[in-house]
C-alpha cells in the first residue's frame, strides 16, 4: 500500500478536469456536452486506467464516469461506474445531490460536492445493507497549494459492505456482518501522503471460512493506528484492544476478554520493522517482541520475544493442549508458571524455557509430576546445558521420588548422560539417554539398570494381583520410535523365591487408549507354597517353572500367549491340599478325579503328587488347554496332576477349549471365597 505513496507525477492535473467541466456547462444541447477518455491517470495514492467521462444536459443534467480499472495500493477494481442523475455545475460548484456508484453487483447511493472556493470535495455514501441500517460513509478532502487532507468518517458502517469491496476468493474468510464506527484521516502534500491516523471500533463482527475451522462471532475491538512520514521512512504505532466476542482458529479457541496488542515500528525500504510490541492475553500473561518482516514476500527476517511468568494452567488449556491432541499431554492439567525467551535469525535460532513450580496431572491418572522445575535452553547450533527437577511423581500409578536430571541440548536432540529416578524402594538408573526429532517424530533410547524394587509394593501400586519378591534387571538398550517402546536384554525379578525373566519386551502406544505389550516371560523354580498362600487358593507345596511365550496384552489384558506350567526338576516336598484340588477341578471345568473316589476326599487334608503340568494357548478369548500328557490315545483328556504315594491324587481335565474370561472369573471367585463354583 505504501508503495503507492512514493512520488509520481499526476497526469493530467485534476484542474484540467475542472476547467473542462466549467467550460462546457451550463449549455443546452441534444448531444453530450462533454465526452472524453483518459487512458492513464496516476497519483501517489491511486491510479486509473481508461476513464470515460460524459456530461449531458438533456433531458436533465447528468454526469457519468466509467473507470476500466481503479487501483489503490495492491487492490484493484474493474468496471466502476459513477452516475449522477441530478447534477448542478457552475464556476464555483459541482453538486451531485443524487447519484450512485456501481461496483460490480453493488449499487451504492451517494452524493458529492466539489467546492472550488473552499477547495473541498465531499462524498457521502449510504450503502444499502441487508438490515437497512442507517450507515453512512463521509469522505471530505480539502486541499491547499501544497497540502491536502482527507477524513473518512464512518457512522454505523456496514463492515460486510466494506469486505465485499475487496476482491475475495471462495476459500477465504467471508465477513458475514460487522459494524464500523470511527474515522480515518490521511494528510499529504503534492508529492505523497504524510500522515495517517485511524481510530476505528468494530463490533458485532462475524466471519468464517467455508470449512468452519476459522471463524469469529460477535467480535468487538478498537484499533488506533498512527503512521507518520519521516524522510524516506514511515514511523508507525498501533494499539488493538479485543474486548468481546469469540474466535475459533483451528485448533485454538479464544474469547475476547480484554486482550491487547500494542506495537510500534518503522517501515523503510523493503522492511517492516516492529521495534517494540507487547501482546497481553488476559488470564495467560504478557509477551514482548520485536521483529523485522520482509515486505517483498512477507517473510520473517528476524524476531526476538520474551514472555515472563506466564500462567501455565491457561497456557496449557488454550494453547498447549489444542496443539497436543494426539499426545500424552492432550488431557493434562497444569499449574505453575513458565517463562519463555526466544531469538530468531535466518541463520541462527535460540529458545529458553523456564518452568517454575509446576504440577502436571493426566486426567486419566496415567502420570503426574509435582513441583516440576525445568530450565531448558536450546540453540540451533551450539550445545546448551539445562536441568529438569521434580519433587515426586507417578507413572501408571507407580510412585517416583525426587529426581534431578542434568541435560544437554543441541539442535533437535537432547542428551542425559546419567540420571537416577527413585521408584518405590528401588531406583531406575539411566545411562546415555538421547532423544532426537526425526521425520517420523521423536525417538529416544537409553541403557541402564533397575535396582531391586519390592514386587509387593509394585503390584499394589499397579493394582494387580499381589506378588512377592523383588524386581531388578539390566537394560542393555531401551528405545522409543514410532510410538513403540522396545527393550533389548532381560528384566530379571525375584518372585516367590524363584526367578522371573522378561525378554523381547515391546510396548506400543503406552499412553494411548489401547496400549499393547508384547513379551516373552519365564519364571523358574517358583515356590508354590508362597504363591498359593499369596492368593488364598488352597495350599500347594512344590516348585514350578512357567514359560509364557508370545505374550500379548492389549490395554493390559492378555489376548494371546503360549503358556506352559510344569513341575521344576529336583527334590522337594510335593503336596496339594483338598481346597486346592477342588479349585483346580473347578478351573478345569468338567474334570474327573481318578484313583480315589470323591467320597474319600473328605478323609484327607493333603495329597501327594508327582508332577503338575498345565498349558494354555490363548487365541482371542479361547484358551486351548492341555496338561502333562494326554490320558488316552483319543486325546480327549489330559493329566493336570499326576498322583504319587499314599494318599495320591490324579486330576484329569477334559475341556480342551475354555473361555478365557470365564476361566478368570472362576479363578477370581476361587481366590475370593475359597469355594469354587463347579459348572
Amino acid at each position: 500500500m505504501l508503495d503507492s505513496f512514493s512520488q509520481h507525477k499526476c497526469i493530467p492535473h485534476l484542474w484540467l478536469f475542472w476547467i473542462l467541466l466549467v467550460a462546457c456547462f451550463p449549455v443546452v444541447a441534444a448531444v453530450p456536452l462533454l465526452d472524453f477518455v483518459l487512458d492513464d491517470i496516476r497519483h501517489p495514492v491511486f491510479s486509473i486506467r481508461s476513464a470515460h467521462i460524459q456530461l449531458s444536459a438533456v433531458p436533465s443534467p447528468t454526469f457519468e464516469i466509467n473507470l476500466g480499472e481503479l487501483a489503490i495500493g495492491n487492490k484493484k477494481w474493474h468496471n466502476l461506474q459513477l452516475k449522477c442523475d441530478r447534477v448542478h455545475i457552475n464556476t464555483q460548484l459541482v453538486d451531485c445531490s443524487a447519484g450512485h456508484l456501481q461496483l460490480g453487483e453493488q449499487t451504492l447511493p451517494l452524493s458529492f460536492q466539489l467546492l472550488r472556493q473552499h477547495q473541498r470535495f465531499v462524498l457521502e455514501i449510504y450503502p444499502q445493507s441487508v438490515k437497512k441500517s442507517s450507515g453512512k460513509w463521509r469522505l471530505v478532502i480539502d486541499w491547499r497549494a501544497k497540502q491536502w487532507r482527507s477524513v473518512l468518517k464512518i457512522v454505523n458502517g456496514d463492515g460486510k459492505f466494506l469486505a465485499n469491496l475487496l476482491p475475495q476468493q471462495v476459500e477465504q474468510i467471508q465477513v458475514q456482518q460487522a459494524k464500523l464506527n470511527g474515522s480515518i484521516r490521511v494528510d499529504g502534500n503534492e508529492a505523497a501522503v504524510t500522515t495517517v491516523h485511524a481510530q476505528l471500533r468494530a463490533s458485532e463482527l462475524s466471519f468464517n471460512d467455508a470449512s468452519g475451522q476459522h471463524a469469529g462471532e460477535r467480535v468487538a475491538g478498537n484499533l488506533d493506528l498512527k503512521i507518520r512520514r519521516h524522510n524516506n521512512s514511515w514511523l508507525w504505532r498501533s494499539r488493538f484492544d479485543w474486548s468481546d466476542g469469540e474466535i475459533f482458529w483451528q485448533p485454538f479457541y479464544f474469547s475476547g476478554d480484554g486482550h491487547q496488542l500494542t506495537a510500534r515500528g518503522i517501515v523503510r525500504d523493503q522492511q517492516v520493522r516492529v521495534t517494540q510490541a507487547e501482546l497481553n492475553l488476559t488470564g495467560i500473561g504478557a509477551a514482548d517482541f520485536s521483529a523485522v518482516i520482509d515486505r517483498k514476500n512477507y517473510t520473517l527476517r528476524q524476531a526476538d520475544f520474551s514472555a515472563k511468568n506466564i500462567v501455565l494452567s491457561t497456557l496449557f488449556a488454550d494453547i498447549v493442549r489444542p496443539l497436543a491432541m494426539e499426545t500424552a499431554l492432550a488431557e493434562t492439567e497444569a499449574s505453575g508458571q513458565v517463562s519463555i525467551t526466544g531469538r530468531y535469525r535466518k541463520d541462527h535460532q535460540s529458545l529458553t524455557l523456564n518452568i517454575q513450580d509446576a504440577t502436571l496431572v493426566d486426567a486419566h491418572g496415567r502420570f503426574a509430576v509435582d513441583k516440576l522445575n525445568v530450565y531448558l535452553p536450546w540453540d540451533g547450533s551450539e550445545r546448551q546445558y539445562g536441568a529438569i527437577q521434580f519433587d515426586n511423581g507417578q507413572i501408571l500409578g507407580v510412585p517416583l521420588g525426587t529426581t534431578t536430571l542434568a541435560l544437554a541440548t543441541q539442535g533437535l536432540a537432547i542428551d542425559i548422560s546419567h540420571a537416577e529416578i527413585p521408584i518405590l524402594d528401588g531406583e531406575l538408573r539411566i545411562r546415555d539417554f538421547s532423544a532426537a526429532q526425526h521425520a517420523s517424530g521423536w525417538q529416544w533410547q537409553f541403557n541402564g539398570e533397575l535396582l531391586p524394587i519390592s514386587m509387593e509394593k509394585l503390584t499394589q501400586s499397579l493394582q494387580i494381583q499381589p506378588m512377592f519378591g523383588t524386581l531388578s534387571g539390566t537394560i542393555p538398550k531401551m528405545s522409543y520410535a514410532n510410538s513403540v517402546v522396545s527393550m533389548q536384554g532381560e528384566l530379571v525379578s525375584g518372585v516367590f523365591d524363584g526367578v522371573a525373566v522378561a525378554r523381547n519386551l515391546i510396548l506400543t502406544k503406552p499412553f494411548s487408549m489401547m496400549p499393547r505389550l508384547e513379551a516373552d516371560v519365564a519364571l523358574h523354580h517358583m515356590d508354590l507354597d508362597l504363591l498359593t498362600r499369596a492368593y488364598s487358593f488352597g495350599n500347594i507345596q512344590g516348585r514350578i517353572d512357567i514359560e509364557v511365550n508370545g505374550l500379548e496384552l492389549v490395554n493390559w489384558e492378555p489376548v494371546r500367549f503360549d503358556a506352559k506350567l510344569a513341575s521344576s526338576k529336583g527334590d522337594y516336598k510335593r503336596r496339594i491340599s483338598q481346597a486346592a484340588v477342588k479349585n483346580i477341578i473347578a478351573l478345569g471345568g468338567n474334570s474327573a478325579v481318578s484313583a480315589i473316589q470323591s467320597s474319600f476326599l473328605g478323609f484327607f487334608d493333603q495329597f501327594r503328587y508327582a508332577e503338575i503340568g498345565w498349558s494354555c494357548k490363548l487365541r482371542g478369548h479361547i484358551c486351548y488347554m492341555g496338561g502333562i500328557e494326554p490320558t488316552s490315545r483319543d486325546f480327549k483328556g489330559y493329566t493336570l496332576i499326576k498322583g504319587s504315594g499314599i494318599p495320591a491324587i490324579t486330576i484329569t481335565g477334559y475341556n480342551s477349549e475354555v473361555d478365557w474370561p470365564e476361566l478368570l472369573k472362576r479363578l477370581e471367585h476361587a481366590i475370593e471365597t475359597g469355594a469354587p463354583v463347579i459348572h
Partner: protein
Amino acid sequence: MYKRVVQYVAIVLLGCFLYTSLASAADFRASSPAIEQLKKSIKQQHRQLIPFYDSGAVGLTRDGSIILRDANSIPLSQRQTINTLIAAQNQDRNALYREIALANDHPEWEDDIRSTFAQRWIKWAKPGWWYQQADGSWQKK
C-alpha cells in the same frame, strides 16, 4: 428428560447392534479384550456425538467412519472438541475393524468388515441423521 430417553434408546440400539453384528456369523470371533475395550470407548464417544448427529453437523460416511459435515452449525467453543471427538471415534472404529479381522486370524478381512459395519451403522442410524450414499452424496434418513 426426553433427550435422556432418546440417548438411552440410542445407546441400547447401538449396543444391540454391536452385539448382533459381532455375533451374527457362525465361527466368527468378535470378542477379545481389545475389541471389548474399543466397543466401550466407541459407545462412550457415541453418547457425546448424538447431539451432533441429531443436528446434522456430523454424518456417517460410506466407509464406516464419521465426518464433520457442517462445522458452522456448531458453537465456536465446541468446534475443537468435536474435531477431537470425530478423530477419536474414527481411530477407534478403524482399530475395531482391524482387531476383529485379527481376532479371526484373517487380517485381509478388514475391508470387508469395514464395509459391513458401514452398512450397519447407517441401518441403525436414527431418522434425521445424515449418511453418505454409495455415490458419495449425502442423504438425510
